[in-house]
Amino acid sequence: MKRFLTAFLFFVLLIAAWHWAFVRHIWSPVLVPSPESVVRYIWEITQDGTLWSCTAVTMKRLIAGYLIGLLAGVPLGFLTARVQALRDTVGVLALGLQGLPSVCWVPLALLWFGQTESAMLFVVVMGTLWSVILATETGVRNVNPIYIRAARTMGSSGVHTWVYVMLPASLPFIVSGMKQGWAFAWRSLMAAEIYVTILTGFGLGHLLHYGRELNAMEQVVAIMLVIVVIGLLADKILFSPFERFLHRRWGTEK
C-alpha cells in the first residue's frame, strides 16, 4: 500500500509539474499540450471507437507474429542446443541477426511483401524469433545433467525427457527470452507502422504518425501514453504469472 501511494504521489506530481509548465507558457502550447487536452483527446478516441479499432489492429499483428516467433523459436532453440551442426549454423545466424536492430527489417519486408499485413507480420516474427532461439538454447545447455540422469533412472527417455525435464528446467531462460522477444517485436512493429501506411489496417503507430502530420501534439502524446500502458499491461498479464511461478518454485524471489 505504501509503495502504491509512493508511485501514485510521484505521478500526481509529474502531471502537476506538466500542468504548471503549460500554464506558465514556458514552452509553446504547440510543442507542449496541456494534460487536459491530452485527456480530452483520449476521451474522444475512446468515444468514437478509434482507440479500440487501432489497438485491435496493432495487437492482432503483434500477437500473431509473436506466437509464430515463439512456436518456431523454442523448438529451434532446442535443436541448436542439442545438435552441434545446427549450433554452428542456425545458432550463429541467430546470434548475428539478434544483434540487428529489428527496425532494419522494415525496408526489406516492404520490398518483399509490399505495403501488406504480411510485411507487418514478418517484421514482428523477425523481432521475436532470434532472441527466443538464443534464450532457449542457453536454457537447454544450462540444464543440470543430473536431472537428465535422474529422469532416465525413473523411466523417462526421448520426447518425454524433452517435454517434462528439459523444457521446465530451461524455463527461467526461456521466459527471459520471451520477454526480450516481446520487447523487440513491439518496438519493430511500432517502427513499421510509423514508417508505412497499410491500407488493410490502421494501427496505433499510424495514429501516432498522423498526429505528427497534423501537428496535433496532444494526439502524439496521447498515443505514446497508450503505447506505454499497453506495454505495462502486457508485462503484467503475459509475463508476471510466469515469473511469479518461477520465483515461487526456484526460490529466486528477492
Binding site: R149, G155, V165, R249, W250, G251
Partner: protein
C-alpha cells in the same frame, strides 16, 4: 568382523558384477577407471563401497544403474544383463537431483507416472505413503528450495522408493549434510531398508558411515579402481555411528585402506 574368504558367488546373488573394466577418454588421454572388478550382492543385502576419490566406485554404481556401460565384463541384475536404466534399480545422488519446477509431491509422482499398471488415484496414494514414510507428510506441497538439505534427501529417498525398486543405488547421498541430520537419516535408512527388504548398494568415502550401515564393506583402491578387500560387519542393528564397536571396525578398515594406498598399485 572377518575379512570374508573371497568374492565367490552367493547362490542368491541379485546383482552379479563379473570382470568389469572401464576406460574413459579425457583431455589427458585414456584413463582406466575400473580394473577387473567382480562383486556379488545378495537379495536384500546392504553393501557399502568405500574408497578414496578416483577409485571408480561411482562409475560402478552408474553401471549397475544402467546409466553407463562396462568397457569389459558384465553386470547382471536379477538374472538379466543390465543395458538400460530400470525402475527396478533406482538411484539417489549426492545432490538431491530433485526437479525444482515440481513440489515435493510432484517429484515423487514423476517416478510413479512412468510406471505402468497404476491409475492416478493409486499413484497419489503411493506418493503420499512414501512421503509419510520419510516423515514429510507436512511438506508435500513445499517447493524444493524451501526444504533443508536433509529434507531434500528425504524427498529423493521417497522418490527413489516409490516405484518399489528391488535395488536402491546410493551415491554419497548424505555427504553434503551436517552430522546431526546425517545420523537421523542413518536411522531412517536402516528402518526403511529392514521394512522394505530392498537391496542397497551405497557408495561413500566415509568409512564409519559404511560400517554403521553395511552388511559388508567393499574396499576399493584408486588408479585404476580395484577391489582390495572385503569386510563383513556382523554388528547388531540398529547401529550407532558413535559406538565403540563401529569405531573399532572403522579403524581397521581405515588402516587397511592406508596400507593399500602406501603400497599403492600404480599411483
Amino acid at each position: 568382523m572377518t575379512p570374508s574368504n573371497g568374492l565367490s558367488a552367493a547362490p542368491s546373488a541379485h546383482l552379479a558384477i563379473d570382470g568389469v573394466s572401464k576406460w574413459f577418454e579425457t583431455s589427458r588421454g585414456r584413463v582406466q577407471a575400473l580394473d577387473n572388478v567382480s562383486l556379488q550382492v545378495a537379495e536384500g543385502e546392504f553393501v557399502c563401497l568405500v574408497g578414496p576419490s578416483g577409485c571408480g566406485k561411482s562409475t560402478l554404481l552408474n553401471m549397475i544403474a544402467g546409466l553407463e556401460m562396462p568397457g569389459q565384463g558384465s553386470v547382471v541384475a536379477a538374472g538379466q544383463p543390465v543395458r538400460d536404466p530400470s525402475r527396478a534399480r533406482m538411484m539417489m545422488f549426492q545432490e538431491s537431483a530433485l526437479f525444482p519446477w515440481l513440489d515435493a509431491f510432484g517429484n515423487v509422482m514423476f517416478s510413479l507416472k512412468r510406471k505402468p499398471g497404476l491409475n492416478d488415484a493409486e499413484r497419489r496414494e503411493v506418493a503420499e505413503h512414501y512421503l509419510k514414510l520419510v516423515g514429510l507428510e507436512k511438506f508435500m506441497h513445499a517447493s524444493i528450495h524451501e526444504l533443508s538439505g536433509g529434507m531434500k534427501q528425504r524427498v529423493a529417498l521417497a522418490r527413489a522408493l516409490a516405484p518399489n525398486p528391488r535395488v536402491l543405488l546410493m551415491d554419497e547421498p548424505f555427504a553434503a549434510l551436517d552430522a546431526m541430520t546425517r545420523e537421523q537419516l542413518y536411522g531412517d535408512l536402516q528402518r526403511i531398508w529392514k521394512q522394505r527388504k530392498v537391496t542397497i548398494v551405497f557408495v561413500t568415502h566415509n568409512v564409519r558411515e559404511a560400517v554403521s550401515l553395511g552388511d559388508r564393506v567393499i574396499l576399493f583402491s584408486p588408479h585404476p579402481g580395484r577391489i582390495r578387500e572385503e569386510f563383513v560387519v556382523n554388528l547388531p542393528r540398529p547401529r550407532d555411528i558413535n559406538s565403540v564397536e563401529v569405531a573399532a571396525h572403522a579403524t581397521r578398515i581405515t588402516r587397511a585402506l592406508k596400507d593399500h594406498m602406501e603400497h599403492g598399485a600404480g599411483i
